[in-house]
Symmetry: C2
Subunit: 328 residues, 2 copies
């Protein structure tokens, strides 16, 4: 039986989710795809930090160690920030090694360039997990685009800010209190700036724009407003008039082919598909040519939803790429 060799870059929440799912599904990979899946190395930043790791697993903080493992088939990347992730993934793709990433900051900026490198070297780059965690928005958009032109995409793309807005409304607390709750639940980072300012949602929106329209608007032209300025009074007034604030990222194409994008708090009523989307969920509404309005709602982050999205990308890779041959 063929063995597919996997390297993991990053072993935080998402990396650990991928590792666990790959292990739990070993038997299924054998039975349904006729392959053995083996994690041959894990790149981490801090070798002193305690992690739930099996003793036999090769773990290193040196990229060279991972790069020198022979015959790696697929690399999963779940580290944070543009660099060194971008350089690492370029390195692997240029060697024809398939890459699956969850790194939105990196992919929003370098996605197009990486996709070109992948194409040139007959490799694949999977990026379902960069946007909306477990919600299969990338796959759904790709399928839909084979027949439909997309006109508008609007979504709640950041679970932390959506949790804060939900919490302010239901627990009747201030932004600061809601943020504290989000941190206590593990839904917000120690530094939540990117989440509440809309920057994180903006990045994901740019990834969706790239896919749906083949390009992004100029970043400096996109108005990005966060939720920090919303007071409990604002939320209560909205509630009294039967409306809810949602932090909505939106991109659409005008009749003349220009892209318009914005991230901002938006008041929506009970008939709006984003009205019931509470807590850390993400949601995306796609308007397209023949299909009309399609809405997807689900977990926008988390170890297993995001891990599952990455492993789905992996299944795509092993099923379709001639380089990794599946005996049928």
């Amino acid at each position: 039986m063929q063995t597919i060799k996997i390297a993991l870059l990053g072993f935080g929440t998402v990396g650990q989710g991928v590792f666990q799912i790959l292990n739990e599904k070993k038997e299924e990979f054998r039975n349904f795809f006729g392959i053995d899946v083996e994690v041959v190395g894990v790149l981490i930043r801090d070798v002193e930090k305690l992690r739930p790791l099996p003793a036999h697993l090769f773990v290193t903080d040196r990229f060279e160690d991972i790069a020198s493992i022979p015959d790696v088939d697929v690399v999963f990347e779940a580290i944070v920030g543009e660099e060194p992730a971008y350089s690492y993934l370029t390195y692997f793709l240029e060697r024809g090694i398939h890459v699956i990433t969850a790194n939105k900051a990196m992919f929003a900026k370098h996605g197009l360039s990486l996709q070109k490198v992948a194409e040139n070297y007959d490799a694949t780059i999977g990026y379902e997990a960069t946007t909306a965690g477990g919600v299969p928005i990338i796959k759904t958009l790709k399928n839909l685009l084979q027949v439909n032109e997309v006109e508008n995409i609007a979504g709640i793309l950041n679970g932390t800010s959506n949790f804060i807005l939900s919490e302010m409304r239901t627990a009747k607390c201030t932004f600061e209190e809601a943020l504290q709750n989000a941190q206590d639940f593990g839904y917000a980072e120690a530094d939540p700036t990117d989440d509440v300012s809309g920057k994180d949602a903006f990045r994901k929106l740019m990834i969706l724009s790239q896919l749906a329209f083949g390009r992004q608007p100029s970043w400096e032209d996109v108005e990005v407003r966060g939720i920090q300025t919303l007071t409990l009074r604002d939320i209560e007034e909205a509630e009294e008039s039967g409306m809810r604030y949602r932090h909505v990222a939106e991109v659409n194409i005008t009749g003349s082919g220009n892209l318009q994008a914005v991230v901002r708090p938006l008041l929506v009523g009970p008939s709006h598909p984003l009205y019931t989307v509470d807590g850390v969920d993400n949601a995306i509404v796609i308007d397209s040519e023949y299909l009309g309005k399609l809405t997807l709602i689900g977990p926008g982050a988390g170890r297993f939803p995001t891990g599952s999205a990455m492993v789905e990308d992996f299944v795509q890779v092993i099923s379709s790429k001639p380089k990794v041959i599946i005996p049928q």
Copy 2:
């Protein structure tokens, strides 16, 4: 350039949608897939009925005429009822011809058998359009199942009955008046029995069960209750307590591996993902192992949404099957 020859069985709303989309996307098929798409024949029931047809199109009411067209690559089927559809599709699959169907009554009963025939003859059967029209529930479930076990599926699978419940609530009218409105808008057939009784939703639920769990519960064990008995007073009382009736079809697997399925009016509150789903939309909530709860909402019927779903299946066929070779 290679020509893909297509036959259409049925030329009602959905068949006409497929025909129009295939025509409008001719250029894209050439540019992106390197193929010419040609509809070589259309099977209809009544040759006297007026239809929006180009004069050069070969139209017949005799199956033998369609069956004798040489080198058909793909057959789209959008006729109603189990027979003769089942026999027709078996005929084509046994000749290695790919089939794409929107026929839920037929597929709920014969889907498994047709999939086996397809496998034996190295053909494909696409059935995205059988369930929830333009909502890509089949594709989404297939992808998700590659990594996740599904635990529960609950959905609004019939747009007509959902429209009637929405209409009763918003227009404060009786079931009979709402049904009349549905018929006036073209959302309900002259005989709406299958829609309002839950029979149509039941069939789609069985298709989803087959896919998610590899089998269906015994049909006679499934409780199927319609919406005909709901009075305006019931709807109003629900509204007063902040709830809404939805006609929900649900199937789940128990710890011991038994399937439980039911179709019935269900009261849901504002935090439920089906609460905001009004009008003719369909919606499905999937609970699965790693991904958690994923909700899809969109048009459950209609010429273009359903036609688009079928043409997406077609793209799948021409991209993946060796029999229909795409020059890259």
